[in-house]
C-alpha cells in the first residue's frame, strides 16, 4: 500500500480521535493540559508503533483462534514498559497520567490497529500505520489539551498568559466533551467531510 496514503489516513482522513472516535477514555480523561495530552499521545504512539511492529512480525506465527489474546499480551507488555519507564524517569508526567497509562491496554485504537491493519499487512506498512495513527492521536490530544488549558487555566504548556483561574468547566469533565465536540465539528468541516 502507498505509504503516503497510509500517513495521510492516520493523521487526517482516518484521524483516530476526530474521525474514528477511538480511544475516547484517555482523550477525555487526561487532556486537562496540552502537556498531559502530548505526553499521553506520545505514550500511545510508542505502544502503537511497537505493537504494530511486533504483531506484523509474528502475524503468521500466531494461529487465528488465539490472535486476540496474543495481541493483548504484546500490547500489555509495551504498556507496562511505558508505565515503568515513565514512573522511573518522568515522575511528574506519571503523576498526571498515572491512572490512564494502564488503560492504554484497553484503548481500542491500539488493539484495533493490530487487528485491522498490522495483522494483515507487511511490517513496513504496519509500522508506518502505527506511526501515523500515533501522530494523529498525539496531535488530537495536544489540540484538545491545548484548548482546555487555554480556556480552563489561561495558559499553554504551563506558560500562563493571563492571571486568574480560567473557566473551570474546561478543566473538568464536561469541558472535555464540549471541547471534543467542537474540535470534531471544526476538523470535519476543514477536511470537507460535512
Amino acid at each position: 500500500m502507498n505509504k503516503i496514503k497510509i500517513i495521510k489516513k492516520g493523521i487526517i482522513t482516518d484521524n483516530p480521535v476526530f474521525v474514528l472516535l477511538l480511544g475516547l477514555c484517555p482523550v477525555l480523561g487526561v487532556t486537562t493540559s496540552a502537556y498531559n495530552g502530548f505526553g499521553m499521545g506520545l505514550a500511545t504512539l510508542f505502544v502503537l508503533f511497537m505493537s504494530n511492529l511486533v504483531v506484523s512480525l509474528i502475524k503468521n506465527f500466531i494461529p487465528n483462534k488465539v490472535r486476540i489474546p496474543s495481541f493483548i499480551v504484546v500490547i500489555a507488555s509495551f504498556v507496562t514498559i511505558v508505565q515503568l519507564t515513565m514512573e522511573a524517569f518522568l515522575p511528574d508526567l506519571f503523576d498526571a497520567l498515572g491512572l490512564f497509562i494502564p488503560l492504554i491496554v484497553v484503548n481500542c485504537l491500539v488493539l484495533g490497529r493490530s487487528e485491522a491493519f498490522a495483522s494483515k499487512n507487511d511490517t513496513f506498512s504496519a509500522v508506518t500505520d502505527g506511526l501515523a495513527m500515533g501522530i494523529g492521536f498525539t496531535l488530537a490530544l495536544t489540540a484538545l489539551g491545548g484548548l482546555r488549558e487555554i480556556l480552563g487555566s489561561y495558559s499553554l504548556f504551563g506558560y500562563s498568559f493571563i492571571e486568574g483561574d480560567g473557566m473551570l468547566v474546561f478543566v473538568l469533565a464536561p469541558g472535555a466533551f464540549i471541547g471534543l465536540g467542537y474540535l470534531t465539528a471544526i476538523f470535519l468541516k476543514l477536511i470537507g467531510e460535512r
Binding site: 486537562t32 509474528i58 502475524k59 503468521n60 506465527f61 500466531i62 494461529p63 487465528n64 483462534k65 488465539v66 489474546p69 496474543s70 499480551v73 504484546v74 500489555a76 507488555s77 507496562t80 514498559i81 515503568l84 519507564t85 514512573e87 522511573a88 524517569f89 515522575p91 480552563g152 487555566s153 483561574d165 480560567g166 473551570l168 478543566v171 473538568l172
Partner: protein, 198 residues
C-alpha cells in the same frame, strides 16, 4: 511463511511462547527501572518530611493508630544530636470533595505545627487544589499554629482556620486530616516522649 493452523498444540505453544517472551522482557525492564522508581518515591517522601520539620540528622519512623479511622498514621521522628526536634506525621482524610487526601504534617515536640504539605489529592483544579503549596499560600496559615490553643476548624464552623472560597469542603477535609494527626499525636505523647520514642 504460511499462517499456522489453529490446532490445539499450536495454540498452546503460541500462547506459552508469547507470554514467556513478554514476561522475560518485562522482568528485564522492571529490574532496570526498580531502582529509580524507589529512589524517586523515597526522595519525594524525604523532601516532604524535611519540609515540615526543623533541620535534623536522624530519622526514626513508627506507626500509630488514630482514635478514629482504620489506617494507621506513620510518625517520622526527627532528631538532631540525639534530641527530638520534630515529628512529621503522614496523615489522611476521606472527606475531600473527591475523597482521599493525604498530607504530611510536621509538629514541634510541644505539639505546635511547624508546617504542612499535601502529598496526594484529586481535588478540583483551580478551587480545591489551593491546598497545594505552589498553587496558593492558603496552607501557610498552619505555620506555628498551636492546636491546643486554637481550633483546627474553619471559621464558618466556629474554628480558627480561614476557609478557601468556593472550596469549603476541601478546606474542611484538610483540617480534618491535620486534626487526625494532632489527635493521634496527643494520644501518644507525654512529658518525656517515652511512649512516642520507646
Amino acid at each position: 511463511m504460511a499462517k499456522r493452523e489453529s490446532t490445539f498444540a499450536n495454540m498452546v505453544s503460541t500462547l506459552l511462547i508469547v507470554a514467556g517472551v513478554a514476561a522475560f522482557t518485562l522482568s528485564m525492564v522492571y529490574n532496570v527501572t526498580k531502582g529509580p522508581i524507589e529512589r524517586g518515591r523515597y526522595e519525594r517522601k524525604q523532601a516532604a518530611i524535611s519540609f515540615v520539620v526543623p533541620e535534623f540528622d536522624q530519622l526514626k519512623s513508627k506507626n500509630f493508630l488514630p482514635p478514629e479511622g482504620r489506617d494507621s498514621l506513620e510518625f517520622n521522628l526527627a532528631y538532631k544530636n540525639g534530641e527530638l526536634v520534630g515529628i512529621a506525621v503522614q496523615t489522611y482524610t476521606n472527606t475531600g470533595f473527591s475523597g482521599y487526601i493525604s498530607a504530611m504534617v510536621g509538629f514541634y515536640p510541644d505539639g505546635t505545627i511547624y508546617d504542612v504539605v499535601h502529598l496526594e489529592h484529586a481535588e478540583t483544579p483551580g478551587l480545591g487544589d489551593k491546598i497545594e503549596k505552589d498553587k496558593s499560600d492558603w496552607s501557610d496559615q498552619f505555620k506555628d499554629f498551636d492546636p491546643s490553643e486554637k481550633s483546627l476548624k474553619l471559621k464558618q464552623d466556629q474554628g480558627d482556620v480561614d476557609g478557601i472560597t468556593a472550596a469549603t469542603i476541601t478546606a474542611r477535609a484538610y483540617c480534618d486530616a491535620i486534626n487526625r494527626a494532632y489527635v493521634t499525636l496527643t494520644e501518644n505523647i507525654d512529658e518525656s516522649h517515652f511512649k512516642l520514642e520507646e
